[in-house]
């Protein structure tokens, strides 16, 4: 008998807001977090579009010896996790006395690496890199920092699955709980937001160059989309066994019904249709639900030509002509990459809990494939109790989560 897995807390630090309330309002009102960043143009970027996010000042919250090992995305993750734990009703005493796990998506930490290499080249003295560089520069920086700050004693692992990292982190956490290996896992995804980290991504012409209209640049599924806009921040969900949540008297927000996954085994950047469809089908099969029970699909759709087309085909293959609303919140946030799988669960949760589906911004004209889906360009005032969230990444990694309201 598998344990049921529930979500009992959420926290987010995103371009749509620093609290759940702010993010809910931004989603509801269709606010875009995208700006034009002149600094990127000076740096030689093809596209200077990005989500706007301020780095939090944690000086009053954490000691120097805690902060010195944290790159920006770890700071975002800290803020999101503090809120998620608080919302879940978990204090430090609980963390000290239980084996709480930590699975977080992260797939880069560029600035500390750049700084350390610059120092070594210029000064020829590794000591001058400082003590923080090694811990800030590793991919596992988020989990190593959070694990130490919150004194977590369960599994402690970073999930690097490209743009599906955050989703895989939640899915893997759910599997551990289902199988009785963990009672509670802090899951999420974090993404650095700085020019250095996405310069090489810009270099392969993946970004939208609609620079004169920043808020119209991210247009998933629209016929005239021309690429993604990079974003970031961090999102945390507290997941635990249903029994644990009931025992604690915790606020039970929703149940993770299933995690589906697959690998395309194909091209490194161009997604196909079979891989994503397989992930969707696996999630639906494992959830033990009919397709008709899905009330909303939060698509991965990043606003690239091939990506959105093939996802639209994969979704259509699975849901057919059913009028299930499909949107991509990346139309508001840009592509939050390593964070996206976790943040989009939270965006979907906020919509589910507040009876609306945010507009798929900038969806003005469908193409041949998106025309077959029901993609609302305006906000829907509607209720749904089960959603499916897709996340796909470079190398052909796919993850699908299905979540039901409780």
């Amino acid at each position: 008998m598998m344990n049921r897995v529930v979500i009992t807390g959420m926290g987010i630090y995103s371009c749509l807001g620093k609290t759940l309330d702010e993010v809910r309002e931004s989603l509801y009102h269709g606010k875009s977090g995208i700006i034009f960043d002149p600094e990127r143009k000076e740096m030689g970027f093809r596209s200077a579009l990005t989500a706007k996010l301020e780095e939090p000042d944690l000086k009053k919250l954490l000691s120097r010896s805690q902060r010195v090992y944290m790159p920006e995305q770890a700071k975002y993750a800290y803020c999101a996790t503090v809120d998620a734990l608080r919302n879940a009703g978990i204090d430090q005493d609980y963390l000290n006395t239980h084996d709480v796990g930590l699975l977080y998506g992260n797939d880069s930490s560029t600035v500390p690496n750049v700084k350390a290499v610059d120092t070594m080249r210029e000064k020829k003295d590794t000591t001058l890199c400082g003590s923080g560089a090694i811990f800030q520069s590793m991919n596992s920086t988020v989990t190593m920092n959070l694990g130490c700050i919150f004194k977590l004693k369960g599994i402690n692992l970073t999930v690097s699955g490209a743009c599906a990292s955050g989703s895989h982190a939640i899915g893997l956490g759910a599997l551990l709980i289902q199988n009785g290996l963990q009672e509670m896992v802090v899951c999420g995804g974090a993404q650095e937001v700085n020019p250095w980290s996405v310069g090489s991504f810009d270099g392969i012409s993946a970004f939208s160059i609609r620079e004169d209209e920043p808020t119209k640049a991210s247009r998933p599924f629209d016929r005239d989309r021309d690429g993604l806009v990079p974003g970031g921040g961090a999102a945390t969900v507290i997941i635990e066994s249903y029994e644990s949540a009931v025992r604690r008297g915790a606020p039970i927000l929703a149940e993770i019904l299933s995690y589906g996954f697959s690998s395309n085994g194909d091209h490194i950047s161009s997604p196909n249709v079979d891989g994503p469809a397989k992930s969707l089908e696996m999630a639906i099969r494992r959830a033990g639900i009919g397709v008709d029970e899905i009330g909303y699909i939060n698509a991965h759709a990043t606003s690239t030509h091939v990506g959105d087309t093939n996802e639209a085909k994969a979704i259509y293959r699975v849901i057919g002509d059913r009028r299930i609303p499909v949107t991509s919140t990346k139309s508001q946030t840009g592509h939050e990459m390593w964070m996206a799988g976790a943040s989009e669960v939270i965006y979907s949760m906020l919509m589910m809990k507040n009876n609306f589906i945010a507009a798929n911004l900038n969806f003005e004209n469908p193409d041949e494939d998106s025309a077959k889906l029901y993609i609302p360009a305006q906000r829907l005032e509607t209720s749904f109790d089960t959603f499916l969230s897709n996340s796909f990444g470079f190398g052909g990694t796919n993850s699908t989560l299905i979540v039901r309201n409780l």
């Binding site: 010896s65 000591t127 890199c129 400082g130 003590s131």
Partner: protein, 79 residues
Amino acid sequence: MEKNELIAKINETLAEEFEVEVSDITPEANIKETLQLDSLSLVDMVALIESEFGVKIKGAEMVQVQTFQALYDFIAERV
């Protein structure tokens, strides 16, 4: 730079980086205890001294530099 001026600058630099009050730093006080340095943050102090004063303290030399007075003398002799 006069030694008093140098000492004031060392104190200010260390107090700001390691988030202690300048008044906590006295010549006879132990550096590691006052600045709450562990083996990692000690590296940051060495790097800070090197970047701010151009003086490198090697590992073996650090053993001799236990108090702030010893640090002032070490830097003053080399700056």
